[in-house]
Symmetry: C2
Subunit: 439 residues, 2 copies
């Protein structure tokens, strides 16, 4: 009988991804574009630990997260801890912990990995990364203006063309006034109807009607009013009796100024925008992919008052948004916005002969010290094989340093894209490579 | 009676750190220096999920990690999982999972965060980050040569002066031959004595003697021989009878070639280097801080054969090292190598008057689009207060755009370091800022 060994699986934990160099290059590129954009607005990066106390989420996160999606457990010291499912609780804890020393406005961002126990599916994984951008200490519409400018700039920086996305904006007080004043619903009804409106786009019109009727105590006459509200524009929404006129002017003013700053065409008023989280209290927005095959919310955010109320008596209003890497990647793929990241504009050095290893190493050391990325082979396999490795690793240039080049104080350079090969002087090589080959 | 609210703590979970922008700048700077160095050698970045199956660590990590330090728990789907305490098991899994498609030599690096349940103390935290550098598929000394070159280059890139660190090198086969052939110990004794030698520097000479005697069956005459071995040099170690001569020539050759590549003075042969992990099988090394107040191991690594044996019948030899952020930071602080990262060479825009907000926003938009980081205020507080914010945030330049500047199509620029202030034309401002102010 054969002696069989039970090998371990090489698959990652369900719902997570391995980032091989190819995927990592893509991730790093995505993060660097995000980072560059938010840094250009003066935002500063922060991070916190992946584990937090369970109590933080119990107090701060929604019920669905805490009861069904949280990775929580008891540590070896009997503390109940959880892997972060979202960044806002950590952010709130950190801001509250150093409130008096932070110069305002506080402009912060982070790109944490977050964990939720979900059934993995398209755009939904157990581990994902999310850009979090937050601005604190500005109570006027200018905070909304800046945050929407950034939300727009990020997609522009990725090269997203006009029309590939839409920014839908609404205001919590608008919906509140509609439900409480116009429809005269009580607290429980407001809660139930809000939740239902939030998922309206995901269910059929019949299902929506069937679910909303009991919530309205079967007051059928209210249904057309709801339809009127949901399809209203920024021009006519204030005609609905009881609607909060302040938030209407707020959005009008915001849109006018954003229009002057070049963010006009992609902005839409959409009173059906709800944003699930309970902590939003003011202006809310969602960015949608217009790709017919991926017509979904890319990211969103809004204003929340009193973020730090769990930690302190002090008040602090903030506004922010979160952009996940999985949905962003789907957007970029759908609009063909991912560049070829495989080709490295650097040099690869084969070993022409075993006796030349040290000479080759000295050359690569010199190039690196001059800032030129240089990978070398470590043994003298057949030269054709070594060039194959350079090809597979995505190098454009191969340098050859053989006996005759050492004699004539030169190197040969081969361009793997054009196939061209020529001789370069050994002296001042780094400068030539930088100047003539853009290395 | 007062209505007291129980506030949550703002402290992070025990043994972990919050990275406020100041600490994050330091972390980003440290990681970017590491990254730049390993990228210059052609290494490619990878990453894996923070959670792995418990079985992976049970099979691959040392007993102390699995039984006492692992953050493991049962997920909501009844899988036993663990937060990664080290990166090598993930690395092995990933390399094994794509073995045939990886062009060799495989050169990979990662900077993961790792978790261990430890008693927090100086240089020891529950969450830390660690640069992992690994090279696979090269069986000759040249793999060791490259890895040691990198280990040295990283500290040089941080500006570490000659003499601030020492690289101690040994070989597992040297110790093995000494214990098995010279001392004629059996397997159990070899294991016990190796473990004891590994901690020798941390205990007193008396404690060492008391612990080693029973391991040697009280063969007192072997003690001087052990002392001879531990204090031997690369010149005289081969005089010890039974010592593996191949590994001695291996290290001699390695040192000679590294000497020719500029890594000579910091290299030392040290037969007392053990490296705790069971998976090292060849050359091993440790980098020590020479600072008398922090004389400790900074990082280390070595060669391991058959890294992927748990996943596949195939063989693959590798060599690598891990460098933790906490020990590195202590080293950099001890040698005064951390630059001032607080000062931002970018511009800060106050709002001179409420009516000028939109004009100011257009200017900042223009500067950002030209690649100049620009933070603006969002309301027109007293100008002195706004400049204070710029000071606190570390800005060097403040731009003023008031009514008179708008009239004369100019801006005022103030250098907060020199106190100087002058007028610049509004047209072509970005180019002037880049050229004359290096922005």
């Amino acid at each position: 009988m054969e002696n069989q060994k039970n090998f371990l699986t090489t698959a990652p934990y369900k719902g997570t991804r391995d980032f091989y160099p190819e995927e990592m290059r893509l991730r790093n590129w995505m993060f660097s574009v995000m980072r560059e954009t938010v840094l250009s607005f003066g935002y500063q990066e922060y991070d916190g630990p992946v584990l937090e106390s369970f109590d933080l989420y119990k107090a701060k996160s929604g019920e669905e997260i805490v009861e069904r999606q949280l990775y929580d457990f008891i540590d070896k010291g009997e503390r109940r801890v959880a892997i972060r499912p979202e960044m806002t609780p950590t952010l709130a804890r950190m801001v509250a912990g150093n409130l008096r020393n932070l110069p305002r406005p506080v402009r912060w961002f982070s790109i944490p990995n977050l964990w939720r126990y979900e059934q993995p599916g398209k755009g939904r994984l157990r581990e994902h990364w999310q850009l979090n951008v937050d601005l604190f200490g500005v109570d006027t519409y200018r905070a909304e203006l800046e945050i929407l400018l950034i939300a727009d700039s990020i997609l522009k920086k990725f090269g997203a063309p006009q029309g590939s996305y839409q920014i839908k904006v609404s205001h919590r007080k608008l919906l509140d006034s509609f439900l409480k004043t116009t429809l005269k619903l009580n607290e429980d009804q407001v809660h139930g109807v809000s939740k239902l409106l939030d998922k309206k786009s995901k269910i059929s019109a019949e299902a929506f009607e069937a679910e909303i009727k009991p919530l309205l105590n079967n007051a059928q006459e209210q249904l057309p009013l709801i339809e009127t509200y949901l399809s209203s524009t920024l021009e006519n929404v204030s005609e609905i009796p009881g609607i909060d006129s302040e938030s209407v002017s707020f959005i009008r003013n915001l849109f006018r100024e954003l229009g002057e700053l070049g963010v006009g065409k992609q902005l839409t008023f959409d009173p059906s925008i709800i944003r699930g989280f309970d902590y939003y209290t003011g202006c809310i927005f969602e960015v949608f992919d217009t790709n017919p095959e991926n017509r979904r919310s890319l990211y969103g955010g809004g204003r929340y008052d009193n973020l730090i109320g769990l930690f302190s008596k002090e008040q602090l209003s903030g506004i922010g948004f979160g952009l996940g890497d999985v949905t962003l990647k789907n957007f970029l793929e759908g609009h063909n916005l991912i560049p070829d990241l495989g080709r490295q504009t650097t040099v690869f050095l084969p070993i022409m002969d075993e006796s030349l290893f040290l000479e080759t190493s000295k050359l690569s050391k010199e190039l690196r010290e001059n800032g030129i990325l240089t990978e070398t082979m470590l043994d003298s396999a057949k030269i054709g094989k070594q060039i194959q490795v350079a090809e597979k690793k995505g190098y454009r240039y191969v340098l050859f340093l053989g006996e005759s080049e050492i004699q004539s104080e030169s190197v040969q350079i081969k361009d793997l894209v054009s196939g061209e090969q020529k001789s370069l002087p050994r002296k001042g090589l780094s400068e030539i490579l930088k100047k003539d080959f853009q290395l």
